[in-house]
């Protein structure tokens, strides 16, 4: 492994790969004056098309905040987030909606599913938004829920609910998938399976995954590992040979 904190672009990586999102000195500040809290504090990062990034960091270090900014559901207090040449921090609400609809898939840490819709209906809630989308049932099968399609969230285990959320993020076939603790509730085997699905999709369809986790082992399968501390990018580690999900020890 090579520490690229000093030169985040890393010559080896930059060669021949397109930047999907560029964060330039992004901060998110809550409160003001004495109670001011910098949830994110001048973070800079380039995210490349097709790569698999794992974000690690202690609780409260700004991981979720980072994902929210990348996903366009929150706006930065300072800095720029450049996607396809435009700063999404300056997007109107309509533009942000369009960006979220077409460019991002989200798997949240909390509040995953609509309790009154079944697994497949939860996925369809997302696919309804686009004319072109993947077949919801097929995506659910991919995450191993082919036999749970018509169950309501209250009839699913925590891990099953998490996988429905993953399927919901993937069904619109977005170039960028943001996952906040997607494996937190999963046992080793299922966890690996879900990660395997993501990894494969990333490779086959050139998707970018950014995955937040407390489980540093998962970092072994990442192309890069970003460590956050107190809202800053503490380090970025490049994995020349990422492990396959089934090889890692939970």
């Amino acid at each position: 492994m090579t520490d690229l904190a000093a030169s985040p672009e890393g010559p080896a990586l930059a060669a021949g790969r397109k930047v999907l999102v560029r964060l330039e000195g992004v901060s998110k500040i809550y409160g003001a004056g004495a109670t001011e809290l910098r949830a994110l504090d001048g973070a800079s990062l380039d995210v490349y098309r097709g790569e698999f990034i794992v974000v690690l960091g202690p609780s409260g270090s700004g991981k979720t905040t980072l994902l929210n900014l990348l996903g366009g559901i929150d706006t930065p207090s300072e800095g720029r987030i450049v996607v396809g040449g435009s700063d999404i921090g300056r997007f109107s609400d309509g533009q942000l909606t369009e960006y979220r609809r077409r460019s991002v898939g989200f798997v949240f840490q909390f509040f995953n599913l609509i309790p009154t819709l079944t697994a497949v209906e939860n996925v369809e809630l997302a696919s309804d938004l686009l004319k072109e989308h993947r077949e919801p049932r097929a995506v659910l099968e991919e995450v191993g829920l082919g036999d749970r399609l018509d169950h309501f969230p209250s009839e699913l285990s925590g891990g099953e609910q998490q996988r429905v959320a993953v399927a919901r993020a993937l069904v619109t076939d977005p170039p960028l998938v943001l996952c906040d603790e997607p494996t937190g509730n999963l046992d080793e085997e299922t966890g690996k399976k879900v990660l395997g699905v993501m990894r494969e999709l990333g490779r086959k369809r050139d998707k970018t995954f950014i995955l937040v986790t407390h489980n540093s082992v998962i970092g072994e399968m990442a192309d890069r590992v970003v460590r956050l501390r107190d809202g800053r990018v503490a380090s970025i580690t490049v994995n020349e040979t990422p492990a396959e999900p089934e090889e890692i020890n939970w």
Partner: protein, 790 residues
């Protein structure tokens, strides 16, 4: 086509909280139903009158003349714009109706052609036949029904030369001119036991009165496109030489005018009362959806993060209002239609309207539907707007547990801290969730005040009748005389067996005038220390005229005068001079438009003779034929109005109002019930997480149930206490719609009514606890906990 998942979510959410949605839908449906029921029956009633006028060729203009040749009708027909003209004789005569008694009653005899139907103001014969030969009479149906005079009976009238003419009742009939029977503008509540309308063949009455080929009344039907005013002026000039008297168009035709007054009040109530219902019901929807949006903040965040736009989220939550609105308004339309039909049939049976229309009025149904839908959408708009403003990043952070706080009163009153938990926790919850406390109290207050408003109609009517017949009208009969009589006659009446007291009354039509305006009314001169007709202030104190006038609050407002001011009073008799009189006091007079003075003051206005025009008599026991005939034996006695008859008659006259009010009360109770039930159920349902958590901690069902009940009862009592004055204020507001110059009801709500409303609301609240407790018992703990995790 498959429905979108966001739409599916609406239906699933509704199914999940179906009882809450059913409850608010019921509330909206009731609002729509009461509008369609009351406005629909108003429209039916109005069109029934219109149809009756149409079918029976109701006149457009009426001219009273002293004496004119019958040929003036043909001259009138020649006038451009006159479709039909009819000349006739209309006279008031004493008539003896054996079915009523030996003494004569006063009858209005109106002639009809003996051999044909009239071209104007036809009658509808409801029983028996139209004239088939000589010696026949048709009785106005209300009169015949009230007095039970069957077809085939005889009536006797006295002709001017003293001969008695016996006529056979050949049928009962309804006339468009007498849908509301009143003797005159001054004497509106004439019981059918002493006054009736009868139709006799012209060929019968004219010779008896020595008026062959003469008429004293001409009525015209006009082409709707012509200027009625111009024709009225032209005809007036033409009839002037024949002693032209009063000229009326439909607006001033007495029966029509009174019906119109009634309809106007009915119409306002039929609009305003449902609006109150709909406002209250939209608040119920607002409460429900507001809580829904609050509890779905996380879901809203997820949808926004997925790429649902602000507009889509807004429409999604409006969708709940739309679904409730459509379902509830449809149910309301169906229910309202049924009510309107039933009500129309009900009043059709006790009003003498011969042609009842009960057709569905699509306009009213559509307006009702639209009103229900609009109320639902407006109620949904604010929660929907709030939902669209939810910021996804914030909405999806885990909810912070509510801040635990000691109540302020706990600090002020330390002993409260030592209360057992089962009491202390509910009190803290009330304190901690002020919006829930507010909604619950509001729901209770709305329920209580709706019931009070509806009940106030009945209480006020009851009080007015009580005031009129229990306090003001202290006599049992009033004997009307054909001509003024010397007041010494009162002593003679006093001597009749069973008569306790007799007093002379002199009624003088007067015109009151001030700089502010003029008002024509009836002055009643009362014996100086009489007790049979009393006058009271609105506060309930007895008033007695000194040398001046006692006027009613209505007249005082009309003329802008106060106690101590002076008024010009002129008797409406030829040659009378105006005199200035002081206002000795302002009286409350529920029925009729009259002013009062002392008997000698009234006598002075008409020339100073010691005379009276009616005798007020009180007697012991019930009226009997023997007593009646002794009263008729008094010299010049023309008719007798028994107070008990007037009272019955008033109840009959007001039956439409009373039925309508009864229906309103039932709806008010139903709505109050629904709202209170709703609020309590929502209170429980929205706390299922909290309740489930407490149960997982091991709190017993009994303890939870007591805590919930204590909490709701405390909030409910706050609501009831607030609802009582609100109900009174609303009742005051609604009173303006049924009060008019002729019917000035005091607005009252009896203490008993307050008590029943408050107790009823609390009982409903306790009943609503039953499903709430069952709900707690059946909580699916694992499922709730699982959802908490998501």
């Amino acid at each position: 086509m498959r429905i979108s998942r966001s739409t599916l979510k609406i239906f699933r959410d509704i199914r999940r909280s179906r009882w809450q949605f059913v409850a608010v839908a019921v509330v909206i449906a009731l609002g729509v139903a009461i509008f369609i029921g009351s406005y629909g029956s108003f429209v039916n009633l109005r069109s029934s009158y219109d149809r009756t006028y149409e079918e029976l060729d109701m006149g457009d203009l009426w001219f009273d003349v002293a004496d004119a040749p019958a040929a003036v009708a043909s001259d009138a027909r020649a006038v451009e714009g006159v479709i039909a003209a009819d000349g006739r004789l209309v006279v008031d005569l004493p008539v003896t109706v054996p079915a009523i008694g030996e003494g004569p009653i006063q009858a209005r005899l109106s002639t009809l052609p003996g051999d044909d139907r009239p071209a104007v103001n036809d009658v509808k014969v409801t029983r028996g036949d139209y004239f088939t030969g000589p010696g026949q009479v048709l009785l106005e149906q209300g009169f015949a029904d009230f007095n039970d005079v069957p077809v085939g009976d005889a009536v006797r009238l006295q002709s001017t030369d003293g001969a008695v003419i016996e006529l056979t009742v050949v049928g009962h009939a309804v006339s468009p001119e007498y849908l509301f029977v009143a003797r005159s503008e001054r004497d509106l509540f004439t019981p059918p036991s002493s006054f009736g309308v009868m139709f006799v063949p012209y060929e019968e009455l004219a010779p008896a009165l020595g008026l062959d080929e003469r008429i004293n009344s001409l009525s015209l039907r006009l082409d709707p496109s012509v200027d009625a005013q111009a024709i009225s002026l032209e005809m007036s000039a033409f009839l002037e030489p024949y002693g032209l008297g009063a000229v009326h168009d439909r607006d001033t035709q007495l029966s029509n005018q009174l019906l119109q007054l009634d309809l106007d009040g009915f119409e306002s109530l039929a609009v305003v009362f449902p609006i109150l219902f709909l406002v209250v019901s939209s608040l119920a929807i607002y409460t429900l959806l507001n809580r829904l949006v609050q509890s779905q903040r996380g879901q809203i965040g997820v949808m926004r993060a997925m790429g649902y736009s602000r507009g889509q989220v807004l429409r999604h939550y409006l969708g709940y209002g739309l679904v409730i609105g459509i379902v509830a308004a449809s149910a309301g339309v169906a229910l309202g239609y049924a009510i309107a039909t039933l009500l129309t049939q009900a009043y059709g049976s006790f009003l003498t309207v011969p042609f009842i229309s009960t057709q569905a009025n699509f306009g009213v149904l559509a307006i009702g539907f639209a009103a229900g839908l609009t109320a639902s959408l407006i109620a949904a708009a604010i929660p929907a707007w709030l939902s669209a403003g939810v910021r996804p990043a914030e909405a999806m952070r885990p909810p912070a547990p509510p801040a635990g706080r000691h109540m302020l009163i706990e600090k002020l009153l330390p002993p409260l801290k030592r209360l057992p938990g089962v009491v202390k926790l509910p009190l803290r919850n009330i304190w901690r969730a002020p919006s829930r406390t507010f909604y619950t109290a509001f729901g209770m207050a709305a329920g209580v005040s709706l019931v009070l408003v509806a009940a106030s109609f009945l209480d006020s009517y009851d009080r007015a009748i009580d005031l009129q017949f229990g306090r003001i009208q202290n006599y049992d009969a009033r004997v009307n005389f054909v001509a003024p009589f010397p007041t010494s006659l009162a002593d003679e009446a006093d001597g009749i067996e069973r008569v306790r007291d007799a007093e002379s009354l002199l009624e003088v039509p007067v015109e009151l005038s001030t700089d502010g305006g003029r008002h024509a009314t009836l002055l009643q001169g009362l014996e100086a220390d009489g007790d049979l007709l009393r006058v009271y202030t609105p506060g309930g104190d007895r008033l007695e005229p000194a040398g001046g006038l006692l006027i009613t609050t209505v007249v005082a407002n009309l003329l802008g005068v106060e106690e101590g001011d002076s008024l010009n009073v002129r008797a409406v008799v030829p040659g009378a001079q105006a005199v200035s009189l002081t206002v000795d006091g302002i009286a409350q007079q529920p029925l009729g438009d009259v002013v009062f003075a002392r008997l000698d003051t009234a006598q002075a206005l008409t020339g100073g003779q010691p005379i009276g025009s009616a005798l007020l008599v009180s007697f012991s026991g019930d009226p009997t034929p023997a007593l009646e005939s002794q009263l008729y034996a008094l010299d010049g006695a023309g008719s007798i109005d028994f107070t008990s008859d007037i009272r019955d008659y008033l109840d009959e006259l007001n039956s439409l109002f009373l039925v309508f009010t009864g229906v309103m009360l039932i709806f008010g109770v139903a709505l109050g019930f629904a709202i209170i039930f709703n609020t309590i159920t929502i209170n429980t349902l929205e706390r299922q997480r909290e309740l489930a958590t407490m149960r997982t901690f091991g709190t017993g069902i009994g303890r939870l149930a007591s805590m919930l009940t204590i909490e709701n009862v405390v909030m409910g009592v706050i609501g009831v206490v607030a609802g009582l004055p609100i109900g009174y204020a609303l009742a005051q507001y609604f009173a303006q719609f049924y009060q008019n110059d002729l019917f000035d009801m005091p607005v009252v709500i009896y203490g008993r009514t307050y008590g029943i409303a408050a107790a009823g609301a609390l009982i409903v609240l306790l009943l609503a606890e039953i499903p709430a407790v069952r709900f707690v018992r059946r909580l699916d703990l694992p499922a709730v906990v699982r959802e908490i995790a998501t």
